[in-house]
Amino acid sequence: MKIVVCMKETPSTEVKKELGTDMRLVRNPQDAIINPFDEYTIEEGLRLQEKHGGEVVILTMSPAQTTDNIRKAMAMGADRAVVVADPSLAGSDALATGRVLAAALQKIGFDIVLFGQGTADSNGGVVPSITAEYLQLPLLSLATKLTIDGETAVIERSAEVGYVKVEAKLPLVVSVSKSINQPRYPSMKGIMSAKKKPLETLTLADLGLAANQAGSAAAHDKVLAAESVSTQRKREIFVGNDGAAQRIFDFLSDNKII
């Protein structure tokens, strides 16, 4: 089975995020990590491979040409990686991202494409569906469980009460929820062999796409303004001992804490 895992690099969750004058996130390659949701996706890809054989290919697109995180995915166990690296990718919106990924996926070939449930930077959560649409293939979204039986993929997705079970034929696109598994640590052998694994770099031209079909040139949406959210804790100070216990009790019960 050929499993392609779509992975994105996002800024570390420990680093303060900043917007540039172009209203785009300032991305420092040193602070890039594997999008935390994608660690579950890579894990799920590896588990599918353990069960059904075949290969796990990491697909990522990146305006910068950094490989640390791709090597980390390969240290976890992925067999090889394909990077669409092109300066014209900068500023791609979700539509352009789906267009580029779909073109790359068609070039690589696959039985199943896995996405994370979203990304820690923009968190639009729509790229899996856009990509599936470009590929004209079914999308099973937000899987909390994924099994493949012959030519059929079955997923479970959490619902308000219980879960729904959905199936579709291969080839298809699946986005996985972070409750689907517990990602493994890269093994020491995996780390030592990651550099020996093939890493192929493609440009937009290699995918038959023009520079204006991706990046800010093709973006349909534009960020006009953004502000950081500050959360203010609710605080009340009781002064004096008179009836203190009763006042604390009332406060807690008024706020439905007890």
């Binding site: 093994s187 020491m188 052998k189």
Partner: protein
């Protein structure tokens, strides 16, 4: 001079740090309280390849270099001392001698399961009456009918009695050399060998969840081929083993000292006295600065000793210096960490009280500080002769 770690060393450091933080550290308090050997953690480390880092892939190891192993050990020690010493004793003392001195057959039989982390191995040198004076070894072995018959006892042996231990390498007197000195041979004793008795776990001040036992050999029989390397090669073998082991112990000490600094920084930020956080007091700042400086120095020393070792150059003096300074650094760091924590630091609920108990043995195990100073002085005085 380039101090940058390679991509592989950095990745190994990062995984070790994450594993220590997420898996080991949350269990450290309970492990210390119960003294129970954390079998599941050690097995997970085995599966990840953390128990065979510097062993080549062809023997089941990860094929990383010696510095990568030390850097990983520092991170594991930052999580917990008991887990770190289990990893160190297994890798440096248990597995490495098979790589250096074992036959192809022995590498296949013994080294592979150790390097791939399925089994643990112990190294039995210290005896009840022979600690620093390892030449005073009394355990002896005689060849009879194609078998070694071993008699004697060993003391403070790490990893000898866990449920995943496959055996122990035992130093034994096998005769007298022409110069009148004892002929020492290392013998391979699998767990379960006839006459090999593993004593109950010893109760310790620290490193409580590591497996430390007395061993006795009562007409213990192993096949003639269970000699590691050559008959009479034992003394040279363990001296060589201990040299590299000291660099690893230095790395372990740096991890323990770093944990003391981590806690001290955190606490001095949280705790206020006289209306300001502790770290606003210059006397506390001085403690933090001294700790950080000594830790950095100790780290540089083990990096350099490891580098010399990887270059195939003589590193005996530097190994002793790194071990001596790093172990004393970890003791001072734990002492100051408790001091910064005040009364709370004396309470079991705070990790620094555990750290305080865990660091003392660093000045004793794998060569006391006194022995290290003798070894360093010996190297210095050699140039006068």
């Amino acid at each position: 001079m380039d101090f940058t770690l390679s991509d592989e060393q950095l990745a190994i450091q990062q995984v070790s740090r994450d594993f220590a933080e997420n898996v080991i550290k949350p269990r450290a308090f309970a492990m210390d309280a119960s003294g129970e050997f954390p079998l599941d953690i050690i097995q997970q480390m085995g599966a990840l390849g953390l128990l065979g880092l510097p062993i080549p892939e062809q023997y089941g190891g990860a094929g990383a270099d010696f510095l990568a192993y030390c850097v990983a050990l520092e991170e594991i020690a930052r999580g917990d001392a008991s887990v770190a010493i289990t990893m160190e004793a297994h890798t440096s003392l248990g597995a490495t001698p098979f790589l250096l001195f074992g036959t192809d057959e022995q590498k296949k039989t013994y080294l592979e399961p150790l390097a791939s982390g399925q089994k643990l191995w112990a190294f039995g040198l210290t005896e009840p009456q022979a600690g620093s004076d390892s030449g005073g070894t009394q355990t002896h072995a005689e060849l009879a009918d194609g078998e070694w018959v071993i008699n004697g006892s060993k003391m403070f042996i790490t990893n000898a009695g866990t449920s995943m231990t496959a055996g122990v390498t035992v130093t034994a007197v096998t005769g007298v050399k022409s110069n009148g000195r004892k002929e020492i041979t290392n013998l391979i004793v699998p767990t379960g060998a006839e006459g090999y008795v593993i004593g109950p776990p010893l109760k310790k001040m620290g490193w409580k969840a590591s497996d430390t036992r007395p061993l006795s050999f009562d007409n213990c029989k192993v096949p003639q081929e269970n000699v590691l390397g050559s008959v009479g090669g034992g003394f040279k073998q363990f001296m060589q083993t201990l040299d590299a082991g000291r660099v690893a112990i230095a790395a372990l000490c740096v991890g323990l000292a770093q944990a003391c600094l981590d806690e001290s920084l955190k606490y001095s930020h949280e705790r206020s006295q006289f209306g300001k956080p502790l770290h606003d007091f210059q006397l506390i700042q001085a403690k933090l600065a001294d700790m950080a400086t000594e830790i950095e120095l100790s780290r540089l020393m083990y990096y350099k000793a490891a580098w010399l070792h990887m270059q195939g150059r003589d590193f005996t003096k530097e190994a002793s210096m790194a071990k001596l300074f790093a172990s004393e650094t970890s003791k001072r760091a734990a002492d100051q960490a408790v001091q910064i924590h005040g009364g709370y630091g004396f309470m079991d609920d705070y990790p620094v009280s555990r750290y305080f108990r865990n660091v003392k043995v660093n000045e004793i195990g794998e060569g006391t500080s006194e022995v290290q100073r003798i070894l360093i002085a010996k190297q210095l005085l050699q140039s006068l002769r």
